[in-house]
């Protein structure tokens, strides 16, 4: 029983989007053959080890001097060819459902979001210019097309929310595309899957799927939390949740936080010091983005604890 439930876990996480379902179906199809071959090989191995053990024969007594059997060997060459052909065929059948965004033909709207991977946060840009950090919001049931990239001065990241499909790399100078269509409301988590530097492990992403109305409301009113999201997503991963310092220096009481000029300079250019390099986290931020951070920091400066 425990074995069965463990085996059931040997598959990608429960999908909540058609592309993730297609991947999971392909996985399960491949699993049929993987488990069959696994059981076959290990069973033969154990059976042979048991049956042909030495027992009372002499240590160096010759066993059957069989040099081969052409037909058998052809069989276990052809067998895998057939299995792999079936797998490839199944993958190609599932492929359109995995890679193609469902068309908007059904009168259904499509949402397009720009996803930018940066050291060490995700930035989302909605069609109306609204910007959010790390937490993506999307309406339920609507196909969402993601244009995934990274600024040319950054490094490679990889976008991955397991329940909503496979990953796609965010590569400087390249724009890749992926999509999802969440089937139920809720929050789906994931994180950057390509080593991108010191805080790669903190580069978390989440997708909050809400009702269409709720989403429209949020989108229309603009992201009121932008400043807070920027502080949390962009600054605290290195400087500590309350600015108490982490792999980077503490920010509590730093004059830079309340000096618009200095803040903008360091956010846009980063800084190279003897202790290490601060990436240019906001090299291409809009004025609104910079202001949002400044406003947030003025309202609630980091407490240090």
């Amino acid at each position: 029983m425990a074995l069965v439930s463990l085996l059931a876990q040997f598959a990608p996480v429960a999908p909540d989007s058609p592309n993730a379902e297609g991947i999971r179906d392909s996985w399960l199809f491949v699993s049929i053959f993987v488990f069959a071959i696994f059981v076959l090989v290990e069973a033969l191995l154990i059976a042979f080890v048991w049956k042909y053990r030495r027992q009372k024969r002499g240590r160096f007594e010759d066993a059957a001097q069989i040099h081969g059997a052409t037909n058998l060997e052809l069989a276990w060459t052809a067998g895998p060819v057939v299995v792999l052909f079936l797998i490839a065929a199944f993958v190609f059948i599932e492929l359109p459902g995995i890679k193609d965004v469902p068309d908007a033909a059904a009168g259904e709207e499509q949402l397009e979001i720009k996803v930018t991977g940066r050291q060490f946060y995700w930035q989302y840009e909605y069609p109306n210019g609204v910007i959010a950090i790390d937490q993506l919001r999307a309406p339920v049931g609507v196909p969402v097309r993601l244009e995934v990239s990274a600024p040319s001065s950054d490094v490679i990241h990889s976008w991955w929310i397991p329940a909503l499909g496979g990953k796609i790399d965010a590569i400087p100078g390249v724009t890749n595309e992926t999509w999802f269509q969440a089937e139920s409301e809720g929050t789906y988590t994931g994180q950057c899957a390509e080593l991108c530097g010191l805080e790669h492990a903190q580069m978390l992403a989440s997708v909050e799927v809400m009702s269409a109305d709720e989403f429209e409301g949020w989108l229309e009113s603009g992201n009121e939390d932008l400043g807070k999201e920027e502080w949390k997503g962009v600054c605290t991963k290195c400087h500590g949740l309350n600015g108490e310092g982490g792999i980077a220096r503490a920010l509590v009481g730093s004059p830079v936080l309340s000096d618009p000029q200095a803040l903008e300079t360091i956010v846009r250019n980063g800084r190279v010091t003897r202790r290490g390099t601060m990436p240019a986290v906001g090299s291409d931020w809009t004025e609104e983005q910079v202001d949002a951070l400044l406003d947030y920091l003025t309202e609630s400066p980091p407490s240090g604890s």
Binding site: F33, Y52, R54, R59, A69, A88, I98, D169
Partner: protein
């Protein structure tokens, strides 16, 4: 003549240490290669144990991200370049001339140079920890732009080390090829050559084909980072997207090398298994020619599958489809080998000495690594599991469960040939079971945690439902640590009081067992005419006939 050559050795070179420093004897160089690699195996293994300690619990704070990224980088680089390739070069060095009935490799001095370059390259890599800015933190794959942006000299030293190791490895490969092609003894046609020698042949061809591509990619990377040559500061932008370069271009070049590299390591391990299984089954290998053909096929196709490491960079679907099919094609000859090995056991007279245990362990584990590879080859599935712990589990099943088990099979099997003494069987069996159980406890859970969304190369994780899997991994890794410790104890014990077992304790089939254990510097006083792939089997059989004993059925 050999005796006279030995007498000509100047006195200062005859000392216990000095004789090893100046040696050009392939056997001594082989032993140097193997023992140096084992030291690096221990070092890189210790790095893994530190990382496992950090990952045992969520949000742990044993080491910080900087240290972790250094360890993950140097662990990977060491295991591939300082353990996998050179330890098999060590087996090749020791065994190829003996197995083909030659007195040494074709270029003994070049061979010594290869070894010393290897040691030098390894030392450079280890010392990079002390470089300005610490060791490289961009992974063994050194992907730009990350690798180009790391300040300090860690990455530069990693590149330097790989350049030195490449020179060493390519020189070694040329040496193997010239040796195998020219120095085979009378009667040893290509179809009578031991399968380990065949695998070293293909290992060498692959090295010559793909290592230069690595060198090119690394040189471009180094130039991108900027170098000063005399008065000139050179700084290129091959892989720098900020100036129009392509980061993905590097990945193509790296994996054109990187995938065959896997087979460069795995093929000789296959060769070891093909030597050990028949001896402990008292049978010929099943389907000699099929195994040779599959080795050639694997080597060829391994150069056509590289982009299956790049399914998530956004290649056109048609390219991804090609690389999926090519990757699946390579599964066919690999499957052939597995079935041929199983058939070698069939109707055998099986003894379970330690080498055989390791060979059987190899079979049972390598199958798992091979099968999980099918998921990874199917590119839409790879979009889901790529760069997750599932992949970490997959390649450890092939490289640790596969190659390291084969290496131990080889060490236990040829130890009496190298040193005249048998490694302690009881300790050996304890080591095997600890390693086997520890390995599975460590790496089986990684499949599951990867599927749940844990990416590789993260220094920590916040998700507490991943903790159980990670804790199991950590426990398993320390059990493996104990197993390696037992091996060290075994070596010391055997040195002092190991059982002396004569020239041919396993009644084996290949020429290396025809000479004394350990062999004299010139290897053979005379070599019998080779009449099949099992010259010693033929010889024993003839002796029995001459003595008028009953023919075995």
């Amino acid at each position: 003549m050999a005796a006279r050559a030995e007498a000509a050795v100047p006195a200062w070179q005859r000392g216990k240490v000095a004789s090893w420093l100046v040696t050009t004897d392939h056997k001594r160089i082989g032993i140097l290669y193997i023992s140096t690699s084992v030291v690096f195996l221990v070092l890189a293994g210790l790095m893994a144990l530190v990382m496992r300690l950090q990952l045992a619990q969520a949000n742990a704070d044993v080491i910080g991200p900087e240290r972790y990224n250094e360890l993950v980088t140097i662990h990977g680089t060491s295991m591939v370049f300082l353990v996998g390739v050179p330890i098999l070069a060590g087996f090749g060095n020791y065994l190829v001339p003996l197995m083909i009935g030659a007195s040494d490799v074709a270029f003994p001095r070049l061979n010594a140079l290869s070894y010393w370059f290897f040691l030098f390259g390894g030392v450079v890599l280890m010392l990079s920890f002390f470089a300005d800015g610490g060791a490289g933190q961009a992974g063994w794959t050194l992907y730009p732009p990350l690798s180009e942006q790391q300040p300090g000299n860690g990455i530069d030293l990693q590149i330097l080390s790989l350049h030195i190791l490449t020179a060493s490895t390519v020189a070694g490969a040329i040496n193997f090829l010239v040796t195998i092609h020219n120095l085979r003894t009378r009667g040893m046609s290509w179809t009578r050559m031991p399968l380990l020698v065949w695998s070293i042949e293909l290992y060498s061809w692959l090295i010559i084909a793909v290592y230069p591509v690595l060198s090119a990619a690394l040189t471009m990377l180094l130039l991108d980072r900027g170098v000063s040559i005399g008065p000139w500061d050179v700084q290129t932008d091959f892989f720098n997207p900020d100036s129009g370069g392509s980061a993905v271009l590097y990945q193509h070049a790296f994996w054109f090398f990187g995938h065959p590299e896997v087979y460069i390591i795995v093929l000789p391990a296959f060769g070891i298994i093909s030597e050990v299984l028949p001896v402990f089954a008292r049978k010929p290998i099943f389907g000699y020619k099929a195994i040779v053909a599959s080795t050639v096929a694997i080597a060829f196709f391994s150069m056509l599958v590289w982009a299956h490491h790049m399914f998530t960079v956004g290649l056109p679907i048609s390219l991804q489809a090609w690389f999926m099919i090519a990757s699946m094609v390579i599964a066919v000859p690999t499957g052939m080998k597995i079935f041929n090995w199983l058939a070698t056991l069939w109707r055998g007279n099986l003894s379970f000495d330690t080498p055989m245990l390791y060979a059987l362990g190899f079979l049972s584990l390598f199958v798992i690594g091979g099968l999980t590879g099918i998921y990874l080859a199917a590119f839409p599935i790879d979009w889901q599991v790529h760069d997750s712990y599932f992949v970490v589990a997959h390649f450890h099943y092939t490289l640790l469960g596969g190659v390291v088990f084969a290496i131990f099979a080889g060490l236990f099997y040829w130890w009496p040939k190298m040193f005249g003494r048998l490694l302690d069987e009881k300790l050996g069996k304890w080591q095997f079971w600890l390693l086997f159980v520890g390995f599975n406890v460590a790496f089986m859970p990684q499949h599951f945690v990867g599927l749940e969304g844990m990416p590789r190369r993260v220094y920590t994780y916040a998700n507490e439902s991943w903790e159980g899997y990670n804790l199991a991994s950590t426990i398993g890794s320390y059990v493996m640590g104990i197993a390696i410790l037992l091996f060290a104890i075994n070596v010391l014990k055997t040195r002092r009081s190991g059982q002396r077992v004569g020239n041919d304790p396993w009644q084996a089939d290949t020429l290396e067992w025809y000479t004394t254990s350990p062999p004299p510097p010139h290897n053979f006083d005379e070599v019998p005419y080779v009449t099949s792939a099992r010259p010693l089997y033929d010889l024993r059989r003839r002796l029995r006939v001459e003595r008028g004993e009953r023919e075995p059925v």
